[in-house]
């Protein structure tokens, strides 16, 4: 037993290095995509202190809206790349309207209420979006318009280390787009005036208001940014499977990333995503068979908790010391 746990997995890594590289690549791609989901949570938490339960359904809603618009255009005789990009722009517009509605209808009336009230309000948003999505788009799974959005298909197969390592082009594109989006958002919030305003709001709503920062405006921007993140997440995960309400549970994969990286740290989301993504793939592939398989879903939490033993504040969180 001890051999199977401590020796055999490493022997396999040495004997089949191509599979190790493949596992690491799959973990990397998953990790970047997890980071993208986690980023949606982090943005909203930083600006409003709210854990946005609706982030998962926003992924579904945005992806369904995109495909829904495209289907409408196709039915009207317009299809292809131009129609896909018009659908993309219109979907971004819908996410902006959603951000405004959330701010106006949900957040503004609840300002200064305890965080738990705002958290519960995001449950409400979730169920409204589920109902709206089902009413408008139905429950049938749809195919993501990957080729129409110039997203590649097929794979790049590389012979290396005595075997074949397959890199799916859609995974490469997903990793690049998600990385670019993460970097872009990080720069936006670090280097721009709005970004500084966001950080001020995150530190203290009252202090931010006192220096003339519009809380309402910041909330709209942040919810819109989270909506765009949800849209990209929906496209990438939708391309890997299909566009259906099942995408909602993909958001659950962000939870161990948030435990590890912290709810307030963009770098935490990125590094946390990568650690969880690679860690769970290695765990499932090399140690999963010892435990009957299917350990991925809880193994991610085990990794996060292991890290927290040594850094209770999360990877990039600040150590909070309170005088009592």
């Amino acid at each position: 037993m001890l051999y199977n746990i401590f020796i055999d997995p490493f022997v396999q890594m040495v004997q089949m290095p191509d599979l190790l590289v493949q596992t690491l690549w799959e973990g990397l791609v998953s990790g970047v995509l997890y980071a993208l989901i986690a980023l949606g949570f982090v943005l909203i938490f930083k600006a409003s202190g709210v854990f946005n339960f609706a982030q998962g359904i926003m992924v579904v809603f945005s992806a369904l809206t995109l495909v829904g618009f495209y289907e409408k255009f196709s039915a009207a005789g317009f299809s292809g790349h131009a129609a896909a990009f018009v659908a993309l722009i219109l979907t971004a517009g819908v996410m902006f309207v959603l951000a405004m509605l959330v701010e106006r209808v949900v957040l503004r009336p609840l300002v200064n209420q305890p965080d738990i009230i705002l958290f519960m309000a995001t449950f409400g948003i979730t169920y409204v979006l589920i109902g709206l999505g089902e009413m408008v788009f139905g429950g049938d799974p749809k195919q993501m318009i990957t080729s129409e959005l110039f997203l590649p298909s097929g794979s790049v197969d590389v012979e290396m280390l005595g075997g074949l390592v397959s890199f799916q082009k859609i995974d490469i594109a997903a990793a690049i787009i998600a990385s670019a989006m993460i970097v872009g958002l990080a720069l936006f919030f670090q280097k721009t005036r709005i970004g500084r305003a966001l950080r001020a709001v995150a530190d203290s709503h009252k202090a931010a208001l006192s220096v003339g920062i519009s809380l309402n405006q910041i909330w709209v921007i942040v919810w819109f940014a989270a909506g765009l993140v949800a849209l990209v997440t929906g496209i990438m995960w939708g391309a890997r499977s299909d566009v259906s309400f099942a995408l909602e549970i993909v958001a659950l994969k962000a939870l161990p990333v948030l435990v590890l990286g912290g709810l307030t740290s963009v770098p935490g989301a990125i590094v946390g995503g990568l650690i969880i993504g690679i860690g769970e793939k290695l765990g499932e592939f090399y140690w999963g068979p010892l435990l009957g398989g299917g350990i991925e879903s809880w193994f991610a939490y085990a990794i996060a908790l292991l890290f927290l033993l040594y850094r209770p504040q999360g990877l990039f969180g600040d150590k909070i010391i309170e005088r009592i």
């Binding site: 089949m16 599979l19 493949q22 596992t23 799959e26 791609v29 998953s30 589920i130 109902g131 999505g133 089902e134 139905g138 429950g139 049938d140 799974p141 195919q143 298909s153 794979s155 397959s166 799916q168 995960w237 890997r240 499977s241 299909d242 259906s244 309400f245 099942a246 995408l247 909602e248 549970i249 993909v250 659950l252 994969k253 769970e280 793939k281 499932e284 592939f285 999963g288 068979p289 009957g292 398989g293 299917g294 991925e296 879903s297």
Partner: protein, 442 residues
Amino acid sequence: MSLKNWLYALSATAVLTLPAVHDAQAEDSIYVPLFTYRTGPFAGSGTPIANGMHDYLTLLNERDGGIGGVKLIVEECETGYDTKKGLECYESVKPKKPVIVNPWSTGITLPLIPKAAVDKIPVLSMAYGLSASAKGDTFPWIFNPPATYWDGFTQILQYIATQEGGGIEKLKGKKIGYIYLDASFGREPLPLIEQLSKELGFEAKLYPVAAADMQNQSSQWLSVRRDKPDYMILYGWGALNATAVKEAVKTNYPMEKFISIWWPSEDDAKGAGDGAKGFKTLNWHAVGADFPLLADIQKHVVDAGKSQVSGKDKVGQVLYNRGIYNSMLIAEAIRRAQEITGNKVVTGEDVRRGLEGLNIDDARLKEIGLEGFTGAVKLSCTDHNGHFSTFVQSWNGTTYEKVSDYIAPLSDKVGPLLDADAKAYAEKNAPWPARSEACDAS
């Protein structure tokens, strides 16, 4: 009295009279709740089935005025494929005296098994649920025709054996992978797999997929690449199926060796493009809308705007027709119950007897408008399943084509295991009531 007070009074009257209205309806109607899931992670599978079930029963109301002149009250309850919500649905419909419930989830079916006899509501878990509930002596209130998950597994094994050029002895020394939803449904065949792998000499490799990882199966398929199973068997649901097919294509797993139980839809295969051609599933009914009954549904339900299908092309797809089949069983059981009892308005107890006396032969299928749609169905007091044959269908890029003859299950292997499992269930849930229901089927 002010307008506001009038409104209050009106609302109060409406609330107080609602139960009376429902009781009045109940006197001359038959209540058939449908547990469905049009939202949530499994809506991709749940929606077409819900549409098929709903449209068939709606047709009977619209075209025939119900069954035997009695209108059906068809009411959906959204479970989201969640066991807790399913049980809430059950409790909410129970006071309305349903004549049957269709849980559409093995997870929901299992806790309903002990309740059914107490509440006198038969449970129809069509080709899902507890395999051993086929034993009518032990489970008089549970019905799971036309085949159990255990039957399905042996049917796939036999198909594999024929691909290897012989009988089941050809499975010896083969490595067979089993990828499944790590839930009650996917775990249901595990005892059978363990037993048969020993008896028939094949090596079983298990690849469970948690619901949270349905769309993220790269680890499982990496393991497939490492283990190199000769054949892969899929027991998936919802997005798990579509992702599994995509991952199999991505891994270059040979599609002609990838065979599923009867749940994948056209959409599940379509998403993987041309690479999915050759993907196989079991089935026991036709695909397509070229049947008089489906033409009637098109005319009286879909064209009349009484269906929720998102497009006319959805009528006739695999899972839509699966819903049709499910409602055919419901309707025929009610009809049979009316014949047995002589009553037009039947109860759950009556429909249980109707299910035990179910005998849908080819002539009856023709009358229904489903000639050639499926094989005859006959149940009995002891056999609540029938263990009917299924066939293999293959995805050709556009639709599923039948590519095998009908395959009977390995009854000599499954039968004793079902007996043992039913006995074990009764012992585990002691004191399990001995069957007291009379048998009036021939």
